[in-house]
């Protein structure tokens, strides 16, 4: 206890404010490789216009995947994001069509998403059901509510004011991209700079230990699902802004893309680990793939195949580089 106890005072390591992890670097390299391949194969892929396109096409999935990342970090999963988005979309659209002021309709739509998340979180945290089962149940339940509410028909006639908000441009950048960028920064701050972020990682990393250390387990889990529900609602607003109509069947299989983006970005489905930057890069990887394959006129079947393979390859690279533990 003589030499070692004095050493730290002199060699105090400075705190890294922005850490760019090795894993994120790996995801970035993956993205660059995919971009390079398409740049070589598809003329005009790297054009400014197409790059903005890719970001815009990735924005909905990125939005969902950010919420999904937080849920996955907390050790859970949210399979109900698609139907949550659907309820939120049809409620918002109906309100807009009925002449409700736009800000109020938006708040109501987000509120519906938050409520869906609250139900998921409550069932997980207080009733103690497994997240997979809870959100599998609400996946059907929420979808049914959206269908029953609309009688299965799309809600048409969304006013242009709303559409320009979610499908417009600001300084030449599509608003969905800006919205998701703001959400991503907020999520990054939440995860890296607030106690809630630490609690999410603690609960997902070792729930028992987190409990003994006094972490508010239930509140933390519910927060994750509420954010995920809210972001699913936000994603649905972007979509109906683009389409001008809300279908009760929208958002089918959204959860899978969102999980894929989070996993490619380094989130561990075991919980306790995940990266906001990685998830964004993961969503862009998936978006770039689809964009490139579409430009190459590849059939939808093969696009699906490519998406599946890219997920598997990403996970294998992840496994191989992480080494055995």
């Amino acid at each position: 206890m003589t030499s070692t106890s004095n050493a730290p005072a002199t060699s105090a390591p400075t705190f890294r404010r922005f850490s760019f992890s090795l894993r994120d670097a790996g995801t970035l390299i993956g993205l660059i490789v995919i971009m390079a391949v398409f740049a070589a194969l598809v003329p005009g892929f790297i054009s400014e216009r197409n790059l903005v396109n890719i970001l815009q096409q990735s924005s909905i999935n990125a939005c969902l995947a950010l919420g999904m990342t937080l849920v996955i970090i907390s050790g859970g999963i949210d399979l109900s994001v698609g139907p949550t988005a659907a309820i939120s979309a049809v409620v918002t659209a109906s309100l807009l069509v009925a002449g409700t002021p736009i800000p109020l309709a938006i708040l109501a739509g987000l509120g519906v998403g938050v409520l869906c998340g609250l139900i998921n979180g409550g069932l997980v945290a207080y009733v103690g059901l497994q997240p997979f089962i809870v959100t599998l149940g609400t996946l059907s339940t929420y979808r049914a509510i959206a269908l029953i509410y609309t009688g299965g028909n799309p809600v048409l006639g969304i006013p242009p004011g709303f559409r320009s908000l979610f499908n417009g441009n600001l300084f030449g950048i599509p608003t969905p991209v800006l919205i998701v960028a703001v959400v991503a920064i907020a999520a990054w701050i939440l995860l890296k700079k607030t106690p809630i972020g630490e609690y999410l990682m603690a609960v997902g990393g070792n729930e028992e230990a987190a409990y003994v250390a006094g972490v508010p387990i239930a509140r933390t889990k519910i927060t994750a699902y509420v954010i995920s529900g809210g972001l699913a609602a936000l994603a649905s607003l972007i979509l109906i802004g683009r389409l001008g109509a809300a279908e009760p069947i929208l958002g089918n299989l959204w959860e899978l893309d969102a999980i894929a983006a989070a996993a490619i970005g380094g989130a561990s489905l075991m919980g306790g680990k995940g990266s906001i930057l990685g998830t964004i890069l993961g969503a862009i990887i998936l978006g770039a793939m689809r964009n490139g394959l579409t430009l190459m006129n590849v059939q939808a079947f093969y696009q699906l195949l490519a998406t599946g393979l890219i997920i598997l390859v990403a996970m294998m690279i992840d496994r191989a580089t992480r080494g055995r533990e």
Binding site: M1, T4, S5, A7, P8, A9, S11, A12, P13, F15, R16, I189, K193, T194, P195, I196, E198, Y199, M201, A202, G205, N206, E208, A209, A210, Y211, V212, A213, G214, V215, P216, G272, K273
Partner: protein, 515 residues
């Protein structure tokens, strides 16, 4: 005579670490060779090289004078090297014979069917050399741990093993089971099988082995003839310095800090009352399963009381979860660090701050400079090594993880610290650091409860000891009456209980408990 096994200048490095440096020694046919060293001394790495899991960076292993280079565990097995791991690698619902033939079943009809009968006959034959009471057709899960170990040895014999390496074979055996294992090992040795025996328990190594290699920091420190050295010498070589026998210091005051009245729970605790003073170290002893851990969990708010009351500084408390207890100034350093203590992937500084993140935050944001400063202070104080605040806690040794958990409660300004098996899975060196830390905390006026299975530890630390038996307090022993026999006498139910099966530490130099 050609040695059965020879390690020649074995080195193994991993990125950034030299796990083994230039290790050389021989094991003769039929020799029982001990391998001693603290955690991280390189014993496991050496065994992994021997069993083909790792390949050495340099150096050669010779079996019967021939150089071997194992590429995978199967190669080592084929060369007659058998490993018996601390955690037995068996499939519980398969039979003894099936487990013994796992991976290379005897088959007929061109590999379509397993010949169960023949496997059982061959298994019985192998086992008959060491233990005739084991039925090869019984499911492995119906056997006691000691018998399951014998089955592993039987499996090694089936493989015609020339060298059997045993890693901490007795960590979960009772003393009488250990005697049986010692006999088996002796008879193996007579039939020419060489044994490498890895253990932390000095007295066992001295009893079983003829010679022992001692490792420290990846190097071979010495090869000793156990008949000619003392346990103290061996420990000194392992640790690299002499361990002092230390005096107990007492800092008890008259102020009552915590009073427990008639505590009961659904988790075994019945009518437990006691007081804890400011500056006191209260020991709790008892058999495994007597309710020691459960009592601490009640006090820490992890489990709920069904009756009784806890008051702190004269104020009655009601804990519905650990948060309440933490707010009242109680911190639990749990027995199972991996399960209940650490968040493995998070930095050590965050693990330290986890229970008091609120106090490091303002406006919903963590104040990193404040957190950092406190981590610097407290982790220096507990002498964290290596002193890297951003390093994930899982990469630290058990002792340093424990120090971080202790620092967690210092950061939370807990006045009452509950230690459950504070030195389980911790090296000798770190152990005495933890003892000093506990003593320092008492000196500063913290009130401390220590639950431990190691009687020397309880006696070293405690001002007073509560002996728990079947969920009740069987006795309170004051410092001047404190002895191992006094504790044992109260801990064991019934007057003449079979002390042999009591899983309470024998008075032995117990260098490391099983993690």
């Amino acid at each position: 005579m050609t040695p059965r096994l020879r390690f020649e200048s074995i080195s193994k490095s991993f990125p950034g670490v030299n796990a083994l440096t230039d290790v050389s020694f021989d094991v003769a046919p039929g020799e029982i060779h001990g391998l001693l060293g603290e955690n991280g001394a390189g014993k496991s790495t050496l065994l992994r090289i021997l069993s083909g899991v790792y390949r050495p960076t340099s150096g050669t292993v010779f079996v019967d004078g021939e150089a071997v280079a194992f590429r995978k565990p199967m190669d080592a097995r084929a060369a007659g090297i058998a490993m018996i791991h601390q955690e037995l690698q068996q499939v519980p619902h398969l039979s003894v014979a099936q487990n013994m033939f796992l991976g290379h079943s005897l088959t007929h009809m061109g590999g379509m069917f397993v010949s169960r009968r023949e496997q059982e006959a061959r298994a019985a034959e192998a086992l008959s050399m060491i233990d005739k009471t084991i039925d090869p057709s019984a499911p492995i899960s119906s056997l006691k741990v000691a018998q399951r170990q014998i089955v592993e040895i039987g499996r090694a014999l089936l493989d015609k093993a020339k060298v059997i390496a045993m890693d901490e074979p007795t960590s979960s055996l009772t003393p009488s089971e250990f005697d049986r294992l010692a006999e088996v090992i002796a008879s193996l040795s007579q039939s020419g099988v060489s044994i490498i025996y890895v253990s932390h328990k000095m007295d066992e190594v001295f009893r079983i082995c003829q010679r022992s290699s001692i490792m420290r920091d990846g190097k071979l420190v010495d090869i000793v003839d156990l008949a000619r050295v003392s346990e103290t010498d061996v420990i000194a070589k392992m640790v690299g310095r002499e361990l002092m026998q230390e005096e107990h210091n007492s800092f008890v005051t008259d102020t009552v800090k915590l009073e427990a009245k008639k505590l009961s729970s659904t988790t075994r605790i019945r009518d437990v009352s006691f007081t804890l003073h400011k500056g006191e170290v209260l020991g709790i002893a008892g058999l495994v399963g007597s309710g020691r851990t459960e009592l601490l969990r009640l006090l820490a708010g992890v489990d709920r009381l069904s009756a009784g009351s806890i008051s702190i500084d004269g104020k009655e408390q009601s804990f519905s979860n650990p948060r309440d207890a933490i707010a009242a100034g109680i911190g639990l350093v749990p027995e199972e660090r991996k399960r209940e203590g650490i968040i493995p992937l998070r930095p050590v500084a965050i693990n330290m701050a986890l229970a008091s993140l609120g106090s490091f935050s303002s406006g919903g944001m963590i104040n990193n400079f404040k957190l950092r400063a406190t981590a610097q202070d407290l982790l220096t104080r507990v002498n964290l090594r290596p002193f890297q605040l951003d390093r994930p806690i899982r990469l630290f040794s058990g002792g340093n993880q424990q120090k971080a958990i202790i620092a967690r409660w210092l950061a939370a300004k807990s006045q009452i610290l509950l230690f459950d098996e504070p030195t389980r899975g911790i090296d000798v060196g770190a152990k005495s650091e933890i003892y000093h830390l506990i003593e320092d905390l008492a000196r500063e006026g913290h009130s401390i409860i220590v639950v431990s299975s190691e009687l020397p530890e309880v006696i070293r630390l405690s001002d007073r000891v509560l002996v728990i038996r079947e969920g009740r307090i069987a006795a309170t022993i004051e410092r001047d009456q404190l002895s191992e026999s006094a504790i044992v006498a109260h801990a064991i139910p019934g007057a003449n209980a079979d002390a042999d099966d009591a899983r309470i530490a024998r008075p032995r130099v117990n260098l490391q408990d099983n993690p």
